[in-house]
């Protein structure tokens, strides 16, 4: 292992809209190592790495590549210094093919450019993608449109994109957040062997286990500052948690609920047949008051479609979704859903759950705007709205709110999720529908979200949690249904056997 520094950031500061995202952060990664950047949501990890990738310009501080001072004018400049970043929210042009997306990122260097016409370049690139994919053990068809790929496949395209562009400093922002255990394991093995070949890999994460198992060194960030750099083998997970959180946060063990009568019944729920295949292929499930029903499964087995159908998002389905005492849930208007006190926490916080351009207070109040609490058709009781919002924000520990008038889009992932929950839980929900509630959230935010779901259950709500994170389902659910190929293939009461669930998730009939 070389001791030469690959990339070094010193005294970096950056603020957004007056909010200090980074304050005098220092970071150094060496050639040949996997360097983890660990921290909670909003600790400044992504901001720091966006500066390293040339996407943001720092307000102060300097950047060194190979110990030479460098100023990056943009991502193209970064790619010239062979820095490549795989973003948490993928930067792919959806209608384009895999090869076209990769071609976009290829720098125009004599050594890199394939000669000939656009078509010839694309064909040659497709061949190179095939080789590189085989080398990394990825199964990718370069001609496929990226919008038809699963999240894990899209991530592989992103990795191929930066590697084929010649990156030697590879930055991965929360790469395992969207992957299953097995997929994450394979990915991290791959990047570790890439580092062993002499490259530098920076792993932005909040998963302690990834750090312990795959990182050579770890730098901990908290509140926009870099706290400490250490060897992950020499510290315990508890110590790492203490460093990132700043105080000890305890993870809750499962506490069972006391189920009551049935509240939601789904029978034979199917999607329309497309090409001899149904995404949802006969879902049967029953949800009782006072229990949490968890749906586990590998991503892409129909979870999103099920969530859409239940949450009242556009999703063509046949079969029954019966809310006991009401009837077909799909026929309920948004207003009726509010009146029935159904709380929805969709997976896409910024796209579906919040209106990013509206203020925090408006996002909070929008759910009750028809109720009359915030005024009539002709009048908005802004003061009452802001008072309620302020109380909820304090009650649900939403941080990073400098003003109630601030845009909701400026909240970090965890705090955006807390705001959604604050709104949805403001009226004692009877039915709670949740999809991937802790995706991309840190330990403390996850614990807070889980606590809220348990509180709702204990107050008598029926809670349905759809999640691709098995740990989350195990921690929350009183009963677990395993979703595989559009059906609930097995059901496990608590306490469930992890191995048996894992087997049901991946077995194909």
């Amino acid at each position: 292992m070389s001791t030469l520094n690959a990339i070094q950031l010193t005294g970096v500061s950056k603020s957004f809209d007056g909010f200090m995202a980074l304050a005098q952060a220092d970071f150094t990664a060496k050639w040949g190592e996997v360097h983890a950047l660990l921290g909670e949501n909003g600790a400044g990890k992504s901001s720091l790495m966006n500066i390293a990738a040339g996407l943001y310009a720092p307000e102060s501080g300097s950047l060194f590549i190979d110990d030479n001072p460098v100023r990056l004018s943009g991502p193209r400049d970064a790619s010239r210094y062979r820095i490549g970043m795989v973003h948490q929210h993928f930067k792919l042009v959806k209608p384009f093919s895999v090869a076209e997306n990769i071609l976009l990122g290829l720098p125009e260097q004599p050594g890199n450019a394939v000669r000939g016409s656009h078509r010839q370049r694309l064909r040659a690139l497709e061949a190179r993608i095939g080789e590189k994919a085989a080398e990394l053990g990825f199964a990718i068809d370069p001609c496929q449109a990226t919008e038809s790929l699963s999240v894990a496949e899209q991530q592989r395209v992103e990795i191929l994109k930066v590697l084929l562009a010649g990156a030697r400093i590879l930055i991965l922002d929360e790469p395992t957040a969207v992957l299953t255990d097995q997929e994450a394991e394979r990915l991290l093995e791959t990047v570790r062997s890439f580092a062993r070949q002499g490259a530098a890999v920076i792993l932005v994460t909040h998963k302690m286990s990834d750090v312990k198992r795959f990182a050579d060194r770890v730098t901990v960030m908290r509140g926009g500052r870099t706290i400490q750099t250490l060897d992950p083998q020499s510290v315990s997970i508890a110590e790492l948690v203490r460093l990132t959180v700043g105080e000890s946060a305890t993870t809750h063990a499962h506490q069972p609920g006391t189920p009551g009568e049935e509240r939601l019944r789904v029978r034979g729920l199917r999607s329309p047949e497309v090409g001899g295949h149904r995404v949802l292929n006969g879902i049967d499930l029953s949800l009782r008051a006072g229990e949490i029903y968890g749906i586990a499964g590998v991503g892409g087995n129909g979870q999103s479609e099920l969530a859409n159908a239940l949450m009242g998002l556009p999703e063509p389905t046949e079969g029954d979704i019966e809310l006991i005492g009401f009837g077909d849930l799909r026929r309920a208007s948004s207003e009726q859903r509010r009146a029935l006190r159904i709380a929805c926490i969709p997976a896409d916080r910024y796209g579906t759950a919040l209106a990013g351009e509206l203020s925090v207070a408006e996002n909070f109040g929008v759910g009750q705007i028809h109720g009359g609490r915030y005024g009539s058709f002709f009048r908005l009781r802004r003061k009452r709205l802001e008072e309620d919002a302020a109380a909820a924000i304090a009650g649900f520990d939403v941080q990073g709110v400098r003003s109630l008038k601030q845009k909701a889009a400026l909240l970090s992932g965890g705090n955006a999720q807390k705001l959604v929950i604050a709104r949805e839980f403001s009226r004692e929900p009877q039915l709670v529908l949740v999809h991937s509630p802790s995706r991309g959230l840190d330990v403390r935010a996850t614990a807070a979200v889980h606590g809220r779901l348990r509180t709702a259950r204990d107050a008598g709500a029926a809670v349905l949690v759809i999640s691709e994170d098995l740990d989350e389902v195990l921690a929350l659910a009183d009963r677990i249904g395993v979703m595989n190929a559009g059906r609930i293939v097995a059901e496990f009461p608590h306490p469930a056997d992890r191995q048996a669930i894992g087997k049901a998730m991946v077995t194909h009939e």
Binding site: L55, H89, H118
Partner: protein
């Protein structure tokens, strides 16, 4: 019979301005810039073309100057939407009204109004021009025959070159394009300038080759029809060409009806193309796949350093 032959023969002449303007709009909008200013830029092209034609009398030069003039004026639009990130709808509308006023003023001040110019002679595509009924379709000025080639060139650029791939990436997902090291603002600027040049050419065609004189507001809403045409064609150049022919057909029918002695109220006749535009829009919107292939980031200004 004669009437139909004349009608078909006149169709290309009416279709070309629609086609070129729509193509210019597609080029700009594929890069994610909503261009509503076509009507104004066509007027700029038309006036500049007539001015050059009165001064030099060379149609080729006049058309090139028409393109250049529209590009120069579109720099103002580019400044508004790319640099200042003003709402693109407002900026487009403002551009139209500005150009209408500017061209009306200059046309009067410079005394270019109602002065006939010599256009371009027709070329016959022999032996196609000898065909019965449709023969007259192949007796047209050179730009009519050049138009399909311009379409071919633009389609080639958009689909068969890396430049086109980048331009479409900028229009679909500017964040991804930016992360890939593509200059989003640079591509958008070039797309506005190039698209505006084509729109200017459409205007120059009307004044220099078609009516052969300048009258204030002579484009008469054709720029707006082109805007609708692009939506109708789902941003596909070939469909836009087909749509342009359809509208050309309708416009060419009006003088034929008058010549055939069919009495229709004048304003009803003048309204027809817009009524058809509305009908087509309603028809398209009521069909399936409304949001089909609209560029993903159309009308959205690009800012790099904003969270989400």
């Amino acid at each position: 019979m004669d009437m139909i032959a004349n009608w078909l023969g006149n169709t290309p002449d009416f279709a070309v301005p629609f086609a070129l303007a729509a193509l210019g709009l597609i080029l700009t909008e594929r890069a994610g810039v909503l261009a509503l200013g076509a009507e104004g830029l066509m007027l700029v092209g038309a006036l500049a073309g007539i001015g050059a034609q009165l001064a030099y009398g060379t149609p080729g030069v006049s058309l090139l100057l028409a393109m250049a003039a529209a590009s120069v004026v579109s720099l103002l639009f580019a400044l508004m939407v790319i640099v200042l990130r003003i709402n693109q709808v407002i900026a487009g509308l403002a551009l139209v009204f500005f150009c209408q006023g500017l061209t009306g003023l200059l046309g009067t001040l410079l005394e270019w109004t109602n002065k006939p110019v010599r256009g371009l002679g027709a070329i016959e595509l022999w032996p196609l021009s000898e065909l019965p009924l449709i023969g007259k379709v192949f007796v047209q000025n050179p730009l009519v025959f050049l138009t399909p080639l311009i379409f071919l060139a633009v389609v080639w650029l958009l689909t068969r070159t890396t430049t086109g791939l980048r331009l479409r990436a900028v229009g679909e997902n500017p964040q991804a394009a930016d992360a890939a090291g593509i200059s989003v603002l640079g591509y958008r600027l070039v797309a506005i300038l190039a698209g505006s040049a084509l729109i200017g050419l459409a205007g120059g065609y009307i004044s220099v080759l078609s009516t052969k004189l300048w009258i204030a507001d002579m484009t008469g809403g054709r720029g707006w029809i082109a805007v609708a045409l692009v939506i109708f064609a789902r941003w596909s150049p070939w469909k836009a060409l087909a749509g342009a022919l359809l509208f050309g057909c309708i416009e060419a029918l009006i003088p034929q009806l008058a010549a055939a002695g069919i009495r229709l109220p004048q304003y009803f006749v003048l309204m027809t193309p817009y009524a058809v535009t509305l009908a087509v829009m309603i028809w398209v919107a009521s069909g399936k796949q409304v949001s089909g292939s609209q560029p993903g980031a159309l009308g959205v200004p690009f800012i790099r350093e904003e969270r989400r």
